[in-house]
Symmetry: C2
C-alpha cells in the first residue's frame, strides 16, 4: 500500500555487487493501464537492493525487476491510493503529508510553479548549505526552526562545505575513501583555501572511491529529505560546489557521473527534491563548461520524474534558456531585472541568492532585515521568487546567538540552528498575502518602464504611434543608448504585479515615501483596497467598491504596499 506522491520502496536481497557498488542498478518497470515507467534501483549495502518509485497516479501498478541483484525477474503489485481529502488533510494542518508529498512534485508551469496535482507552489526559499552535515542535535534544532518558519524550499548541499564560519567535518561522507584519501583527517587549518576555487588544483587524484558509497551517509541524508518532506519543504539539492577541502569539488568527471548515477537512483523518487547542479558553478574551477553541460544532460536523462533542474552562478549567469533547465536560479543583486528575465526566458525566475541578512564583514552577508524583506517584496511582486539566508557573525551577540547545542560558529546559512533575524516574520507576512491571492503574480508595471523593457523595434513602433505633444518626450527617453537605458532601469523600476485578468493588483512602493498612490483599476469590476505596511506587518482596508481611477492616502514612509483585490 502506497499513497500517491509518496516514495514507494521495494527492497530485496541479492548477491553483493561484484564490481562497483555505485553502478549496480536493478532495472524496474512499473505498468498500469498501459502506462509504463522504467526506473533503476540501487545497492543499499549489506546485500540489500532497493527500487524506489514515485507514483503520480493512484491504482494498481504492476512491476517487474530484473538485472543487478536479481537472479530472476521479481514481480509484484503496488496499490497506490489517492490522497485523503477533507478537513483533516487541509493544507497547513501539519498532520499527514505536506507539500509535495500531498500534491506531488513541483514543476514549472509557464513562469510559475505547480505541484503535480495542479496546486500552485509559491516558492519562499531559505539557505542552509551544510544542513545535512551537522550534529544530530543541531539538525534537530534546524528542523524545529524550519517548522515555525515561512520557508518551503531549502538550498542544501550533498557534499560538506568548507568556508568562513563553517569548518566542521561531517559525521559521514558520501563515499568511502580511495587509497589516496586513506588516513586524511581533513581538519580545517588556519588559512585553508577553498579548494574548489583554485585553478591550481587538478582532478587526476580522487580522495574518494565513488564506486563504494557510504551507505550510512545516504541513509542519514535521506532522513533529512524525509524530515523536510514532512514539513512540506522542497529540498533544492546542490550537487556540486567549490567550498571544499575534502576533494569532492575536484573529482574526475567520470567519477562525478558515477556519483550522480547513484544519487539519482536513490533520490529521484523523493517528491520534494530539486536538482541544483551547483552552487556557483562558475567558481568550480575544476569543471569546464563542457563538463557542466554533460552533468546537466546526465541529470535530466537519469531523472524519470523530471524534477526542477537549474544551475546557480557566482558571477556569470548559467544559460537558463537551455532545454533541460526548468527555471532561472540566479545569484544577483539586480532584483530590478526579474521582469526582464521572465520575458527573456519564459521560465520561473528564482533569485536564489541576493545577499543575506546578517552582520558578517563580507558584503554578501550583512544586509539588514529590512533589506532582506524588501528584496522578497521586490522579487515577489514582479512575479519572481526570492530565497532567504541569514549570516549573523558568531559571537557578536553571544547570549542571543548560542544555539541550544552549545556549538560555536553556527550561522544559519551554512549550518542551520536558530534564526535571529528580523526578516523571517516579514517573509511570513508576505507569504500569507501571496497565498491569499487568487493566483500567481505577473509583472504589471507600465509607463516608461514598460517601454524601456521593449526591444528597439518595439520601441520604434511605440514612438510612431505616440501623438505629437508627447512623442518628443518619449524620444528624449529613447535618445539614451541601450546601455544607458539598461542602467537607467536599474534605479527606475516600479515593483507592480497583477493576478489574472484584473483579479488583483499588488503594488510595492519600495523606498518611496509617497503620501498618495494613484491606481488605475479596471472600470468593469470593483475592488477592495488594502494599504499594507510591509515592515510593521499591518493591513488596513481603506476602500471597498473601488473602480477606475482611485487615489489612496499613504503614510509617507518606506516599504508600503497597496493591494487591490476584486470583490
Amino acid at each position: 500500500m502506497s499513497r500517491i506522491y509518496e516514495t514507494a520502496e521495494i527492497c530485496f536481497e541479492g548477491a553483493a555487487p561484484a564490481g562497483s557498488e555505485a553502478l549496480a542498478a536493478p532495472q524496474a518497470v512499473f505498468v498500469k493501464d498501459g502506462k509504463e515507467l522504467s526506473v533503476k534501483g540501487f545497492y543499499a549495502g549489506g546485500g540489500l537492493y532497493k527500487v524506489r518509485f514515485l507514483p503520480e497516479e493512484a491504482g494498481t501498478w504492476q512491476y517487474t525487476i530484473t538485472g543487478d541483484g536479481t537472479e530472476r525477474p521479481l514481480t509484484g503489485t503496488l496499490e497506490v491510493t489517492a490522497q485523503e481529502t477533507g478537513e483533516t488533510q487541509a493544507e497547513g494542518a501539519k498532520q499527514g503529508p505536506q507539500g509535495s508529498a500531498l500534491h506531488g512534485p513541483v514543476r514549472a508551469c509557464g513562469t510559475h510553479l505547480k505541484h503535480a496535482d495542479g496546486t500552485w507552489f509559491y516558492s519562499f526559499g531559505t539557505t542552509v548549505y551544510a544542513l545535512a552535515h551537522q550534529s544530530e542535535a543541531l539538525m534537530n534544532e534546524t528542523f524545529e526552526t524550519l517548522a515555525d518558519a515561512p520557508f518551503n524550499k531549502v538550498r542544501m548541499c550533498v557534499f560538506p562545505k568548507h568556508y568562513n564560519y563553517n569548518h566542521n567535518n561531517p559525521r559521514y561522507y558520501a563515499f568511502e575513501r580511495s587509497a589516496a584519501g586513506e588516513g586524511l583527517t581533513f581538519e580545517a587549518q588556519e588559512g585553508d583555501q577553498v579548494a574548489g576555487m583554485s585553478d591550481a588544483k587538478d582532478t587526476s587524484v580522487n580522495n574518494w572511491d565513488v564506486n563504494r558509497p557510504c551507505f550510512a551517509f545516504w541513509d542519514a541524508f535521506e532522513d533529512k529529505l524525509l524530515r523536510l518532506q514532512d514539513l512540506g519543504i522542497e529540498a533544492d539539492l546542490i550537487l556540486f560546489h567549490p567550498y571544499d577541502r575534502w576533494g569532492f569539488a575536484n573529482m574526475p568527471q567520470q567519477d562525478n557521473l558515477i556519483y550522480l548515477d547513484y544519487l539519482l537512483r536513490r533520490l529521484a523518487a523523493f517528491p520534494n527534491v530539486w536538482w541544483s547542479l551547483a552552487n556557483e558553478y562558475d567558481l568550480c574551477l575544476a569543471k569546464s563548461l563542457q563538463d557542466w553541460e554533460e552533468i546537466e544532460q546526465f541529470v535530466a536523462e537519469h531523472d524519470p520524474y523530471h524534477h526542477m533542474l537549474s544551475n546557480h552562478n557566482c558571477f556569470k549567469p548559467w544559460d537558463w534558456s537551455r532545454q533541460n533547465v526548468t527555471h532561472v536560479s540566479w545569484q544577483t543583486r539586480e532584483l530590478y531585472r526579474v521582469q526582464a528575465l521572465l520575458k527573456e526566458y519564459g521560465k520561473p525566475v528564482l533569485i536564489d541568492e541576493c545577499r543575506y541578512e546578517g552582520n558578517v564583514p563580507e558584503s554578501w552577508g550583512n544586509i539588514s532585515g529590512r533589506s532582506m524583506a524588501q528584496r522578497f517584496w521586490q522579487v515577489t511582486v514582479c512575479g519572481g521568487y526570492c530565497t532567504h539566508g541569514e549570516t549573523f557573525y558568531p559571537g557578536t551577540k553571544e547570549a542571543e546567538f548560542n544555539t541550544q547545542t552549545g556549538e560555536s560558529e553556527v550561522v544559519w546559512w551554512a549550518r542551520g540552528g536558530r534564526l535571529h533575524g528580523e526578516s523571517p516574520a516579514r517573509i511570513a507576512f508576505l507569504k500569507e498575502i501571496i497565498d491569499s491571492l487568487p493566483g500567481p503574480i505577473e509583472p504589471a508595471a507600465g509607463g516608461l518602464q514598460a517601454i524601456l523593457l521593449m526591444s528597439p523595434a518595439e520601441q520604434e513602433k511605440v514612438l510612431e504611434q505616440t501623438p505629437e505633444g508627447f512623442r518628443g518626450f518619449l524620444k528624449a527617453l529613447l535618445a539614451m543608448s541601450p546601455a544607458e537605458q539598461e542602467r537607467f532601469l536599474a534605479f527606475n523600476t516600479a515593483y507592480e504585479g497583477k493576478v489574472g485578468d484584473g483579479d488583483a493588483f499588488l503594488i510595492y512602493k519600495d523606498t518611496e515615501c509617497s503620501s498618495l498612490a494613484d491606481l488605475s483599476l479596471p472600470t468593469d469590476k470593483t475592488y477592495r483596497i488594502e494599504v499594507i505596511d510591509t515592515w510593521e506587518m499591518t493591513r488596513e482596508t481603506v476602500q471597498t467598491g473601488a473602480s477606475g481611477k482611485v487615489q489612496v492616502r499613504l503614510p509617507g514612509k518606506e516599504y508600503m504596499a497597496v493591494l487591490a483585490v476584486k470583490e
Copy 2:
C-alpha cells in the same frame, strides 16, 4: 575702492539706446601691470549704463570705456585692495565677505573645485528652482533657512517655473512683452501642460521682446545673487528649462542669444555665479542639439571670468567631455558611477539631481531623509559632489509645513521657504567631516571593483599578472560580458575614498550592517581611527597609533562609516 573678488561697478549716464536696449554694450578695458581684461557693460534703464568688473588681483586698475552710452572714452582708476586676513575675517565668521566674495570664483581643478585664491570648494548643493520668483516674504524666509543650512550652492532658474506644486506667477519677468504677449495673464489653468516639453510647440512667435529687458526684474534678481553671495553660497544659474507656461522655453534661437548676451554682461562679474545651460536640456524640445552647442559656445565665449559651466539632463547625459564644459552636472540615480565618471571625464562630478527627500507621489520626490543622506555619503566618499532637494507634499503635515508667509503650495525644491526634512542635519554633519580633512577625496575602492572599472585591455593585463590559484577566480569574474559587468557594478560598489598620499581614508559602509571593518593602512604612518554613525551623527575615536592591517568593531547597523586620519 574695491575689494578683490567682489564686483566693481562703474555707472555712467548716457543717451538711451536707439535700438535694442539689450544689445547696447559699452566696451571696457581694465589694465594693470600690463595685464588687460576686456569686458562689456549693459544698459540698466533710465539713461544709466553700467560696467561690472570682477578683479582677481589687487592693485590699481586703469580702465577705459567706449562705445554704447559714451560720447567719448571714459577713463578712470579702480583701487582694488586685498581681502583682510586674520581672526575677524576667518572663514565662517559670518561677517564680511563669504565664499567666492572672499576667495574668488570657483573653478575646476582636476576632478575637484577651487576658489581663485586656491581654497578648496567642496560643493554641498541644494535646489530651489524658482527661488527668485517668489514673494519678498517667502524669499526672506528662504534666505533665513539657507543661513542655517549646510548648503553652499543653489540650483536656481533665471526664468519662472511652471510645474506641479509650483504655479504662481512671478512679480517680474526678464523682458517686457512683445505684441504677441500683450494682455496675456499667464494664470495657471487646471490641466496646463508643461509648454517646453511639448514637441508640438513652435518657436516662431515670442511673447517676449528680448530687446527690452525688464530692468526691475534684473535688479531684483541680482539682489538675490548678492544675498546668496553674502551667505557664501554659489548660484548655479539655470539659463533655460522646459517647465514653462510663459513662452521662455520656446523663444527663437536668435532671441535666446540676445537674452544670454544681456545676462552675461550683467551677471558674469558676480563672483558666485555658475552657468547651468539648462535644467533637463533634453526635455527642452524646442531646442536642437545644434542650438545647445551654440548656446554652450556663446556662454563660454562671452564670460570673461570663465565661471563653472555645464548642462544638466533628464535622461540623455550631456557630453561633458566637451571643451567648454567644466564639470559633470548629472541627473541620475546611478550613484555607483561617480568613480567611473571621474575616470572617464577627468572633471568634477556633480550629481545635481538624485531624487529629493519628500513625500510627493512622483518617485523623483519621495525618498526618505535617510536615503538622501545616504546619497550624499555615497557620492562624497567617492570624490563626487551631491545636490539636495526637498519635496514634501503641501498640506500633508499642515501644522508643520505652513510657511511663515501663509502661502500655500510651498515646496522647498521649487519655491524655498523652510526645510522640513531629516537630511540637512546629516549633510551638515558630513560637511563638517569633509571640511576637516586635509584635502579633497579621491575614490579608493580596490579589489574586484577596481578590476571591473578597468578597460578590457587593462583587465587582460591583470589576468596575465595574477598567479595561478587565484587567476581562475578572476577569470570567472571577467567571464561576465561587459554589459553584465556593468550591471554587476551597480549593486557591488564599495564607497571608499582617500585623501592625498595616505593622509586620510574614509570608508562608507552604506547599507552593510557589518560587525567588523578590515582596514589596510599604510605601514609607514600612524592613524587615528573614528567610527562614525552617519545617521545618528556620532563620531567615536576607537584607535590611535593605528598602522597596517587593522580591524575595527562596528555596531552591525546600516549607514556607518570609518575614518582614518594620519596623526
